[in-house]
Each structure stands twice: as C-alpha cells, then as structure tokens.
Symmetry: C2
Subunit: 355 residues, 2 copies
DNA sequence: GACGTTGATGGAAGCGTTTGCACAGGTTAC
DNA sequence: GTAACCTGTGCAAACGCTTCCATCAACGTC
C-alpha cells in the first residue's frame, strides 16, 4: 500500500496512484471509489465529491489494464484498413479517431498491407482480446474469412463490403462510376478508357471491380461498345496512373476521355497527358474518383465521396452497437456525387467524325 | 475453469482459452506455460514442445490486459501527432506502424488537434498508464510542458523538437529553407515571397518559424532586403496557400518567386497563380517543402524529406530504448535535399531591371 | 412499534497473467 | 562422499481494478 502523502498537489513524481490511494484519502472503500469515479448510481453526493477531490489531488487515473481485465471490456476499437498512409484511409482514420477519442475509447490501427496481407490478418486475428469492436474497411473477405472474424466475437462494422449481422457502410461504386462515365458519354465521348485496380488482384478488392462494372454499364447505356484495350490497371497509385496513361497514349486509336478509379491515378494520368502535349480537357477529358484534397485545386472533375464522414459514421455506428448490443445491424449507403470541374469537356472536334 | 475439450481443432467458437486451459492440456503448471510461450530459458525442450502444441490446438493467445497488469508493461507505443489525416503525419504514421507492428507492439494514436489541442494533451496526458513509450511529433512544447510529460515516466522519442533525455529526430528546417530560397536567389530572383504558417500561432510550432528564419538568412546571404509584406501566412493547407497567393498577387509589386513552407500550400498557390494567368515558372517560380506524393507529378520544385523514414526511424529508436532502457538518448538530424523540377526558373526578363 | 424497502457502503472474490521463491533431482568439483 | 550448483518445475502472491453480495441505517407504511 502506498501513502497518499506521496502525491503532493504537484500531482506527479514517481509511481502512480492506485484506487486504493484514493480510497484511503477519501476515507471510503475502493468499491465506492470505483463507483463514484465512474458515475454509477447509489453513491451519496457528498461521498462522490470527496472521492473526486481525492482523485484530483492524486492525479489518479484508473489503470486501463486492470480495468479491462476486471470488466472484460477493453474500451478500444480496432480499425483495419488495407493500407495506412493511403489518402483515403488516412482520412477515414482521422474521422474515426475524432469520434472514438471523444467517447473515451482508444483506437487501435491495423494495416492489412503488412507481411501476409489480408490472409495473415484473418489467420492471426491480431485484434483478438484487445478490442471490443472492429471497424473493417475495404477488406475483400470471402464468407469463410468473415465467419472466422465473426467467431472472434467482436462487434463489427464494415465499410465497403456487406456482411450479414455486422453493420455496414457502403458507397454504390457501380452507380458512381456509371455517373462519371455517363458524364463523359453525355459530352459526346465515344472512346472512353478506364484506369483501374491491379491486374489479377490477389486480394480481389471489390472497389475496382464495382467501378469497372459501372463503367461498362454506362457504355452500354450510351450504346457504345467496350474496347478491352481501353481498360488498363493503374494500381490506385500516382505512378500506376501515369504508366496506364502512357499505355493508352500508345494505342493506335487513343481514347478521348479517361475515367480513373482514383484521383491519385487521375493526377498521374493528367501529368503524362500534358507531358505528351495534350491539352486537358480540349484534347483529352479526365474524370477521377474520391475528391482528393488537391483535386479541387487541380480542377479535376471527379466523384466526390465524404471519406472523413465515412470514418465518423462507421465509428459512431460501432460505438452505438457497443453501447447497446441489442440494436441490430444497420446497412447504410453513403452518397456520392459528380463534381464537374475543368478536366472534362466535349471530345476534340476533329475527331468526332473520325468514327 | 474451462475444459480443454471445448476447443476443438476448429480453434474457435465461444469463449477464449486461458493459460490454464493450455496448462491442463499440456499437463504442466501455468507458470511453465507462461515461460514456454514467451521463450524464457529453463524450460525443457520437450516440455516447451508440448506447451506449444497445446496452445496451438486451443488457438490460445495471452490476454494482453492480464499480461500488462501482471508485468507492468503495455507493449504499446503512443504516437502523438498534431493532426492525423494531414499528409505528412499520415506518412509518418504508416512508417511507425510498419515498424511497431513487426515487433509485436501495438501503436496507439493521439491527435493533438482535438478539443483543447496541445494544452489539453499535456494537461490530461491521455497516454498515461497505457503506453510504454511515446513518439511525440512536432509538438511545440515549452520546458514545463516537457517536464510534465517526462514526469509521466514513459520513454520518449521526439520528432521535430529537441528535448534533453529523450531521443530526438529533427530536420534542419532552417538550412533546408535556406537551400530552397538560395535556389531562387541563385536564379536571379530578388523579390521572393514566403507562404508560411499561421499568424500568431497559439501553438508556436517550430517548423514554420525555422523555415521563415532560413528564408531570411538566404535573403541576407544574397544581399537582399526582406519585405515584410511578402511573408504571408498559409496555414499549411491548400486553401491557405491559395488565399496567401491571392494576397501576394494583389500587392503593388508582386513577387517573382514564392517559397511555400509546405507542398500543399504550394499547390494551392500554383493554382491561383495559373488562374490569374501567370505561367509557372516563366512568370512566377514556386518552391514547396515536403515532397508530397503528387509533387513529382505536378513538377513541383521542392525540399524533399523522407517522412516515412522519419516515422520508421523514430519507432525503431523508441523500441530500442524500450528494449534497453540503459542506452542513452540519441539525437539525429535527418537529411533534406532540394529537388529541382519545373516550377522554378529565372525571373521574367522584363522585370529584371524594374528594380 | 414491527416490518419490508430503499439507498449507501464495505468485504472479498474474481479477472488472467507474471514472477519470486522453494524444491527436487542430477551434475560437477573437490 | 559431501558440498555447491545448476535445471526444470510448481506454488502462490501479486498486479489494480470491477462487481456480487451482505450489511446497516434511515424511512415510510399498516
């Protein structure tokens, strides 16, 4: 047992006060301290006051490990994303962190891009015994994998994929892509390329697939035929977008417009196009996806989605679920919208009657 | 006590196995299980083997709360940054996470931009009792604040500021800014603006101040006189950079070159300049700072610093310190370099003899 | 005035680990 | 052949909380 007196009003210096120190100082039992500090009922106001003062003077905070062990709750939520450091996920992260921190929970990040990738994540379930809830973002999991995660018995909210008995938050990537490409066909473009995900993606992320399908649908709607040579992988990175654009420009019949599945790829593509002497949008139209921070300043026409909001909402949903496990899963669709800026326009006149 | 038999080879389904279940199954005491699983010495190879198998069959993992409580170590490091979601910090984060995850530690993020900001962070010390070590990034702390954090007795590594008895990682922002501005003076510019931090920054972040000083030094070296109207705040954001550029263009004698303290601000500035009909670099040269992902593709001349590496190195330093608390603090300076791309050139000829 | 009721409190048993200590048996050193 | 050591193991006491249960006083109620 430690002596309360060690904790001067300076509030620091040495070992940390325990609940017992507070109890001694407030002249009550540890049980009462625990109740008083957590705002539980059945504590006399005067007692609570005394406990609060004692805790304040000792600069006491409950040891989370002890508290977790005793209560069985970690007051922590896990956030698993494909890759920390990618723009979209860092924004989602900041949204999550803000909401979670405000509620007194901790957030524990997991990057599924580490060694072993998603498979390793599902194999190890590294969040086991450390989180109360898991926010799983854009993880392309098959049913057995989902089942394995579900068996770990943490509350789950998924973003970007739907899993029964977990709440989910999705954006309709198919519709959004259709919208973007429809914008191009509406302008009169007939030769429209797509810069998408990874070729033979081992992870089978759904985002690029959905956007690709939306692209196809929009072409069909416009009565156009898809040319497979116009759909090239861009790896969701600037470099990938640039390479893809190079490839497209090398075609015998290059596109008059490009739909890029992310703004990063669009930026890479745009730069290559300009380096090649093409004017955007006079010679080539470009549409992106995400509405990256810089897109507005680059004048990039794109599909806007509120990524920070996605993180905030996902976190809120998860916290609500933890607060009341009875409430069933909800499935929400988050809106996207087309933001027309200055990288899209009608196809070059000279080309219009080439076909 | 639970029966080992509940844990089929399926490895899941229901409550989680405890160390006691493993002990029962391996026919040893819990103490031996603990030692065997953690690779401690004085365990017979055959025993260890048996324990490992039992643990494997039960899909056992140690409960971190219990382990933390008993051992006094959380095997967690805290990462405190001014603002999650800002490009620089999300990159540092991803560097940290990679290193920390590989070593089996958890990382707990803190954003100092939340309610109350840095002051609140120092007041509450939210990482208390939850981390073994703290990686503190770009926090502008005064000595009493640093002292308060030090009193919380966590190992600390700082990035972007120097604190005695904590290891630190800094970049020489003064020299880097000098280099950037020296590049402009070398090209013949005489009217060089600076787009910097926040006016009367309540946080007193050192980064903008240092870069400003480097700017002044470079001007002096070139025999130029600083014009206070040419130094405007840009808030380290795209929007701020854009506004700052507007302000600069409104001057009776606008600059021929601008040094921006971050690439984001440079991008905003560049866009405004172009919208105003200025060609970059023919009419206006722009230098940034950071080497943002998109900078290469925008052709932005900038100061490159390896932010991911900063995170990785900081994490490694912290882990080393935790592994061997005896090892003294180290202070490292991380290199920066000027990357000349296509946004800088000589000042417009017509203007050279205006002054 | 005896009696359930309610509110405030304390005692004590966990929670699942780690770790200091004790101990048995087997070596090695003289 | 005894003393001094290792090695491998188990026992049990922490670690600092939460929470069930019992207790006790004060309060109407009939």
């Amino acid at each position: 047992m430690t002596f309360g007196v060690r904790w001067g009003e300076a509030g620091g210096g040495g070992l940390s006060a325990t609940i017992e120190d507070v109890a001694d100082r407030a002249q009550v039992s540890v049980a009462t301290v625990s109740r008083a500090l957590r705002g539980l009922p059945n504590v006399a106001p005067s007692t609570r006051q005394r406990v609060l003062e004692a805790a304040e003077q000792l600069a006491y905070i409950a040891d989370p490990s002890a508290s977790r062990l005793a209560s069985g709750h970690s007051r922590t939520i896990g956030l698993a994303v494909p890759m920390l450091g990618q723009w979209v996920y860092s924004k989602i992260f900041s949204g999550v962190e803000a909401v979670v921190a405000a509620s007194g929970y901790d957030v524990l990040p997991f990057s599924m891009s580490g060694p072993g990738g998603v498979a390793r994540f599902v194999e190890d379930l590294p969040f086991r015994k450390r989180v109360d809830g898991l926010l799983l973002v854009d993880a392309p999991l098959d049913p057995p994998q989902l089942e394995r995660i579900r068996a770990s018995e943490v509350a789950m909210v998924t973003v970007g994929l739907v899993a029964e008995d977990a709440s989910s938050l999705v954006v309709d990537n198919v519709a959004a892509a259709r919208l973007a490409v429809g914008h191009l066909t509406g302008l009169g473009h007939q030769r429209i390329a797509l810069i998408g995900g990874v070729e033979d993606d081992p992870y089978r992320f759904s985002v690029p697939v959905d956007r690709y399908n939306g692209y196809l649908e929009a072409l069909t709607t416009a009565g156009l035929q898809a040319d497979p040579r116009l759909a090239v992988p861009g790896n969701f990175s600037l470099e990938g977008g640039a390479e893809a654009m190079h490839e497209l420009l090398g075609l015998s019949e290059p596109p008059t417009a490009v739909f890029c599945c992310s703004d990063e790829m669009a930026i890479g593509a745009m730069q290559v196009a300009r380096d090649a002497g093409l004017r955007v949008p006079e010679d080539l139209s470009i549409v992106g996806f995400d509405d990256h921070d810089v897109s507005e300043y680059l004048g990039l026409t794109t599909i806007r989605q509120d990524v920070i909001g996605l993180g905030e909402r996902g976190a809120a949903l998860l916290l609500a679920r933890l607060g009341d496990p009875a409430c069933g899963p909800v499935h929400e669709r988050h809106p996207t919208r087309l933001v027309v800026r200055h990288t899209t326009g009608p196809p070059p006149a000279g080309l219009e009657y080439r076909w």
